[in-house]
Each structure stands twice: as structure tokens, then as C-alpha cells.
Symmetry: C3
Subunit: 251 residues, 3 copies
């Protein structure tokens, strides 16, 4: 691997014969893309930036939230810095970025969140974003929709309770009675972030599962896809063919 | 983390007490593997290089294309440089590598393609591969099989049109009437690359979906697996049990 | 990207104006987490370290094995070093780490194993863990349960033999008559590692598949989930509805 040019080692390295260019772990510039895949640069300009990002169905701010969630969810570390910057530039607040990372620790795994922390720390330092800009650790929570939450808890308990009591406990205590109620990221944004990270990882079984008290807030794509859920059809089929008795324990 | 030995900083770093060894983000040498997992080295030599890569069912050049697609598709950045070099050494052309990266931007996501650009830029610079070696941005396209494309477009429109008009539009305009017809990567190679990246990510639902006018060109593995597609069986079952009327909206 | 502080370049870089902070590819410190996402730090301390890791159903040593397998399986390179260190500290032996990496080369892909080798090489060097601590390349193997293996081989051959003879051959020769019988990682640990890596990647179809002679050793979570396997239900359904004749080639 070729050495990297580094800002702070510049005085030193400038005296050595270091070829110019992007390091393998840094986001390539537009010029870099043109030097490897000029067609990809054209698609990026014409189709991605010039078209997809301008579609009216989702604001640029929301597209930034969705993309950031996908990049964190897939642990695409090289793209992280770029999309974090873009998010700030599109008006996503530092508190929201902080909450997005915290939220995705649960849905994409702790290691993905920690990789996002490392990239964000640098960006926050560059932009002088200090502790005052961050959400409180234990803020007052949003009000809970008790009926919807009871319904969700029952469904999860029925499905997993006998086998995974820990999952049921944490889903209730930590996720739906705590994390999802933290006020510094709107419930709609938490849905955008959750669904985006799940879809980005192909975890469509979970992304198709209805979130009862958030259905009105979910993007059309996810709401409408519920009719296609294979497990739901499978359950219909199983009950029809095997009967409820024969199907005991099917799901 | 220990510092890295770097070729071009060698004169400097050689005077410092830097332990020898691979950096955590560089592909380990064979010696490195032996120092951590000698059994893995033996499997690599005997089974992977000495056996799998020599199986007659797929040429070494094609295995290199397939492996490169998997590595890009899973964003395995540490392995990227090594497999890019191997691909060039096996006769994969720079234009083909450029097209593979462009192709996978759509199937594996833009961030994966950008990570591949970063690694490829270095390799192209090392081997003096300049813009003259790259595909044209907007070349003349291969002829379109209009009947097969109409069939595909109808199928996608039936399945997704009402809900995801953007997916339908881009699948037609950008993918099947543009990207797949670019002449610098053979349609068979595009199939190899697509299927490999999808399988490498466990996206088997999509990799099992027939590509109508490319079926003759698809590798045996993917072609033959279609019979096992769960969705297809599910549809057969659903129609048999529920009837077409009862199954409305099942898929 | 900001420059990194490096231990061995410290004398040099300390004279330059390098901002303090974590590099984007290094595991963030607790202080770093607090500077970006104080709530995430609180969840880490209270829920993850203070609760999940202390649950009695799985020992800390086993949790370390499971987490390491997930991190290798998802190629979360930034978290690798930390979890490798933690594994050693929890009593996972160097031979076991070596075998875990070798094992996951087959289940998570060679590139993931190579990334783990790179991180482990550094750690082994830091702790003076040399070749004497590593497993033999070709040790005497554990005894094979011939009946269970014959059953497994028949099942795989029935399912894949006609189409993927190579998969059948390697599954038998390399996996179940060699890799799984290597003595330096207990069969129970191999099950933990395999299931963890598969679940971490959402490859639940394979993780739900019964491992005949290891069922007693599998963790409850995986053993109990078998009743929910969609493919199994689908097969039941298909045979009930279509009959064995009509279902020929369904699976």
C-alpha cells in the first residue's frame, strides 16, 4: 500500500517522493472517481446527485438521515465522514446525529455505533461542536402510547417470551419505554433510521414488521410493503392447511 | 494500535523502534497468517489455492471476477487491493475493473463502489494505468433484446409499479437500458458480478430471480437454483390453497 | 481526515500541532463516546457492561467468544482489536483464537479471517504470544460420530448433490471430517462461533439448520429456534398441499 499524504506530517512527507492520491481508507474525491471509473462519476452527477437526491417525495434533510443510517448500518467506514458532514450541512442537528448513533447501536450493533463515534468525534472537533450541543443523558421522555405499547409488548411476548425472555425484557425496558421516547430525535426520524438501517442490511423481515403506534409516520415504502410480508402469508397458509391445532408452535 | 511500517517513510521509521509487522488495515502476508493461524495457512495453500481455484468448472479469470465482486460487494476493504492486483494478473482488463466497480455501485451501494475506487486508484497509479485505458463515459451501447426487456419491465412493473414507481423507472432507464448494455464488460460478466455480489451478501431472493435474456449465460449454480426459490414455491402454495381470489395482494 | 497520534511516532508528532483525538479507524475510548453520544456511553455502562454481560445464562468467557465471532463475522475491523484483547483477558486461549479465525474463514469468508489475522498478529506480538502457543497445523483429530455424520452427509447430498457437487465434497472432506474435528477448539465452541457469526449476518436459514451430533451442545437460543424455521414449515406445507409427487424438486 502506498503511504498517505497527511496534513500534519506534510512538512515531513513533502520532502519524500510520495505520489499524490487518495489513501485506501479515505473517501475518494471526484477526480479520483474519474481516474478509475468515469462512468461512475457520470452516474453520480447525473443520476444520484442530479436526480435521486432531488426527487420531491423525501426532503434532502430526510435523504441525508436515511443515507447516514444506511452507511452506519452497513459499517461503510470510508463513507462515514462524508455523509456525517453532508448531514450537518443539510441541517441535521448535532443532537440528532448523536441520537442516531445511539439508536443504531441497538439496531445495527454496538461496533457499528462505535465506528460512527470515531468518525463523528473528528467532525465535531473540526466544527467546534462541544458537549453543550449534545443531548442530555437522561432527559424527560416523550409520552408513551400505552395502548399501542401494550399491544406491541403482547405480540413480542407471545412470539418470543417462552424462549427469549431477555429479548422481551430489553425490547420493552430499553427500547420502547426508553430509547424510542428520548426527545432529541423525533419518532418519525427514529422510524426512518431504523427502517433504513434494516433495509440496507437486507433485514427485511424485521423492517416489514408493523410498528403499531408509528404507522402514520412511516415512509410509504415501508408501510405499503407490509402486505408482502412472507411470514404473514406463511402463517395464513399454515393455519388454513394445518389448522390451528396442527400448527401449534409453527410461529 | 502499533504504527505501520511504510515503504516511503522507511528511511524515517527505520530509525525508530517500530516493531515489524502488518498494520491492522493491510492485507496480511503469508508469514503473518502462519504467525496467527498456521492451520488457516495450510487450508489456504492446500484447499483454496491448490484446489478450489484449480477446479475446471470456472476459469481462473472468471474466479477472479467472481471473487472481486464478492469482496467489493461485502466491502472487505482489507482484501480489496490484493484481489484487484490478482484480477489484473489473471487478465481482467482495467476497463473491466472500471465497469465492475460502476456496475456494483448499483447492486452493492455507492459507498462500496467508492471504497473500491480508492483502492483501485492506487493500483492504477502503481501500474501506470491512465485515462486511455478506461471505458468511455457514454459509449455506443450493445443491442437490446426488446422482447426480453419488455417482459422484464412488465414483471417488475406488476410487482412494484404501484408502490415504488421510482424503482421501476430507474431499473428500466438506468439499469437495463443503459448500465447492462455498456460494451466494456460482457453481459455474461455482468451476470457473474451481480450474482456473486448478491450471494456474498446473502441476498439470495434477488440472485434467484431469473434474468430472462441472460439465462443462457448465467453460471450453473445460479441457473439451477431457481427451482428452489422459496417465493416461487410460496406463490404456488398460496394459489393452490387460497385460490387466486383469496390470494389477492399476496405478492 | 485528521492525522493520528501514534505511539512510536510520538516523539516526532508531539512537536506538530496534532489535535488530540481518536483516529477514524481506531476503537474510540470511553471519553470519545461521551464527547459524541453521552447516552450511548450510559447504555454501554448500565445496560451492556452492567447488565447483559452479567446475565447468568452464558459465562463471560462464552460471551467473549460469541462477540468475537460476531465481530469477525461482520468484519467490524475497528472493534476487532478490542474484542481480541477482551477475549484473552476473559481466558480465551491463543490456540482458541487461532482456531476461531480458521473456523470462520469457512463460515464468514476468507477476507474476514484475513482481517482478523492482521489485528491478531499485532496483539500476539504485544503479548509475546509466539508459535509455541499456536495449534498444530495437522493435529490428531477428535473421534467422528460416524452415524450422525452419515446422516448429515446424506441430507446435504440429497439437497445439493445433483447441482453443487463441490459444496457437498468440501462440506464433507474439509468441514465435517477435518475442521470441526480439530482438537484445539471444543465442538461446543465451534457451534457457538458458527451460530454467532451466522446470526450476526442475518444468515438465519443456515443457523437454524440442525447440526445433528451437536444438538446437545448448542445454546438454547439456537436449539429452540428450530421449531420456527420457515423452510421446515414450508416443506411441511408443500408436502401436505402438493403431495410428495407434486412437490418433486421443491427443496
Amino acid at each position: 500500500m502506498r503511504p498517505r499524504t497527511r496534513l500534519s506530517l506534510f512538512a515531513l512527507t513533502a520532502t519524500l517522493a510520495i505520489p499524490a492520491g487518495v489513501a485506501a481508507d479515505e473517501s475518494p474525491s471526484r477526480k479520483d472517481v474519474q481516474m478509475v471509473a468515469p462512468a461512475l462519476d457520470k452516474y453520480t452527477q447525473d443520476r444520484l446527485l442530479g436526480d435521486v437526491w432531488k426527487r420531491p417525495g423525501l426532503s434532502r434533510r430526510d435523504r441525508s438521515v436515511v443515507t447516514l443510517a444506511a452507511v452506519i448500518g452497513r459499517n461503510q467506514t470510508i463513507a462515514l465522514s462524508e455523509h456525517l458532514k453532508l448531514a450537518l450541512d443539510q441541517g441535521v442537528k448535532p443532537t440528532e446525529i448523536s441520537e442516531i448513533i445511539t439508536h443504531l447501536a441497538f439496531y445495527s450493533g454496538w461496533a457499528n455505533a462505535m465506528a460512527a463515534v470515531a468518525a463523528t468525534k473528528q467532525l465535531f472537533a473540526e466544527r467546534n461542536i462541544g458537549p453543550d450541543w449534545l443531548p442530555a443523558t437522561s432527559p424527560g421522555l416523550l409520552p408513551l402510547n400505552e395502548a399501542a405499547e401494550a399491544d406491541r409488548a403482547k405480540r413480542v411476548a407471545d412470539q418470543f417470551g417462552a424462549i427469549f425472555p431477555g429479548v422481551v425484557q430489553y425490547t420493552t425496558d430499553v427500547l420502547f419505554r426508553d430509547l424510542w421516547l428520548r426527545p432529541d430525535l423525533a419518532p418519525r426520524d427514529r422510524s426512518l433510521v431504523t427502517i433504513s438501517a434494516l433495509i440496507a442490511n437486507g433485514q427485511v423481515a424485521q423492517s416489514d414488521r408493523p410498528y403499531p403506534d408509528r404507522d402514520e409516520q412511516r415512509p410509504d415504502a415501508a408501510r405499503n410493503r407490509r402486505g408482502y410480508h412472507p411470514s404473514r402469508l406463511l402463517r395464513r397458509l399454515a393455519q388454513r392447511v394445518l389448522g390451528d391445532a396442527g400448527c401449534e408452535g409453527c410461529f
